[in-house]
Amino acid sequence: MTHAATVEHRRALVRGFIDGTLNAEEHAALEVQLRQADVARHFLRELHFDQAIRVTAKSQIRRAEIEAAPNTAHPVTARLRIRRPNRWRPDLHHWSWARAATVLVIFGLTAWLLLALPVKPQPVAELMVHLGTVEVDGNPRNGASGIINAQELLVSPRGWASVRLPDGTLIELANNTRVTVHRGTDGVRLTLTQGEVKADVRKQPSGKPLVIESPRSRATVLGTRLAFATATDNDRVEVTHGLVRCARRSDGNSIDVPAGQALAINSTGTLAVQPIRPAVEAIPEPPRSGLTMWFDPAHGVLRDERGRVQRWSDRTTHAWTVANDVPAQRPALDLAGRPLIRFAPRGEMLAGQIPWPSDGAFTVAIALRPTQLGRWSQGLGWGWGCFAFHAQEDGGVYAGVGAPGGGIRFHPGNGPEDIPPGTAVVGHWQRFIITYGHGVGAFYVDGNLIARKAMPPPQPRSDMYLGRADAPSGEPSSFAGDLGELLLYDRMLDPQEIILLDRRLRGAVTP
């Protein structure tokens, strides 16, 4: 057999495998051939090419047919229905009227059935991969699947999803994102009603830009990389590459956002771009060993219809949750810079069941910005006998293993074991880290060791609070400030880890 014939034979075997027409002998021959790298390469390319034609054709051809007949309820059926209609021409003169009527009825019924039969709609995008639950029009999806025109996707609170458009454009959906994908003759439109999408957009056809919109604003994209987030009080667009035109829908005002710039859009106010805030990925990750709780306002926040924080889930696999069932007592989520939870001076709180580590040792890390100091301000913790934290009027801080009557914990004062007045400062982001192990606690402010003292081991508790709305008399009742991040470890971190953790907190609250 010549070389050309051999190659042709291999190709025929590969084609036969794809078409499913090989007999056992031919199949065995193919398997032997596939031991050679060049044949295996050709085989994979052909398998993939066939699959790619199938997927692409289903997307493009059906869509083109639907777009070509926008006024037809079921265009595909209609197209099939007209196949060879003229071949059958009965001569009614030779038929009885009864037969003719029967034929007409059959024709009518057939046509009605063909028009009435539901046509399987074709996908306009593909759900590539997801974690957690993704609901499509209210139905949970499991696995890769097509997204039909105008279907709505909802990503679960701890999930994420990746959607690809036929041209290769990649859309990332963050947790709690609700988005609808529309494809029309004027291009693709993503309607975002909550959450955040990030898009890596391929160059779009002339006159058919990709549009990402919320009820408040609209971003027109020709080919770029961007993030678009919508919240109750504003939208935010960040452009990494390319150029995006953003318009406020209420008044039509628009502005071009170039690469490296961001735009916050609210209901009124001037549209002005600003440099993109430091990327989340630039913030160092905290040490993971022993991390039992990690509340980060950039993750897991569910807001009510007023935009207040109804529930907040932590980033560990425990998914600890703090919540408030009373709408009037819910804190706010501020998205102007890096997200933060804002507690009013009195009466706002979140609480949940989060077990205190049972091993005795612990590390608590807090990034907060007081907005008002007072008796029991910036209160959080697990209560007396366990860990508690709060400040007072002069900026002195109480922290550690509290107990009725004062207990043994860090408290305001001027001794080496005390937290001096003025430690908590209104309007300043501050990082507090408290460690405990071997019977000794240590208190760090902005990465510096302020005090050490002996303390009893904390008693296990599981009622965690951030601020208090209706606290028992004499106990912390308010927070009055912004909470940037809150972490808990079931061990005492070492000095190197303290430095890393402090850098994490600093990055988390850098505007």
């Binding site: 495998f17 056992a24 596939l34 031991r35 398998l47 051809i61 890769a144 990649l170 955040e196 990030k198």
Partner: protein, 172 residues
């Protein structure tokens, strides 16, 4: 969301290879779609184990291999599939080399299918969209089975040429 974006960027070039290798191993198109998703999720959950100095596609093909073995144990092959160990090893090896190649071809194909017209478009529609058997297509188009096979062959060749031209025009 950045870890997810990072994963997705690793996964997208690998996905066509995973699909092709799984198609060769288990032959059931629907099952392949399910397994691909399982592989993606398993890879994401184990991403911390992935050594960035090595090929992601090779790593994820290892996961796909285990998934395929499990599936075949539970379901058995539905048709003749590739079972020869040496052939499978070669497929896994060359698959890791092909990741960018297959991904680029898939995207280039989008522009090529749009220009298909007339009978070529019709036969693609019948075969790939409606997934009708060749004999049925022949009847529908008033042609012989051999004619349909030739048409499909020519369409594939035309698409292949188109893809090559688009890739070379884009300098890939």
């Amino acid at each position: 969301m950045e870890p997810q974006l990072h994963f997705t960027r690793l996964w997208l070039p690998a996905q066509p290879v995973v699909v092709s290798v799984l198609a060769a191993r288990i032959g059931d198109r629907v099952a392949v779609e399910d397994l691909v998703q399982e592989v993606a999720l398993a890879a994401f959950q184990k991403l911390a184990d992935y050594d960035e100095t090595r090929s992601f596609t090779a790593w994820v093909l290892g996961i796909a291999n285990h998934k395929a073995i499990d599936w075949l144990r539970a379901n058995g092959p539905k048709r003749l599939v590739i079972r020869d160990e040496q052939a499978l090893a070669t497929l896994m090896q060359v698959g890791a080399e092909l990741e960018r190649d297959l991904s680029d071809r898939e995207l280039a194909l989008h522009g090529c299918l749009e220009v298909l017209q007339g009978r070529a478009r019709e036969v693609v529609r019948h075969h790939y969209v409606d997934e009708r058997p060749v004999a049925e297509i022949a009847t529908a188009m008033n042609l012989s089975v051999a004619n349909i096979k030739v048409m499909l062959y020519r369409v594939r060749e035309a698409l292949r040429d188109c893809v090559e031209k688009r890739l070379s025009a884009e300098g890939r």
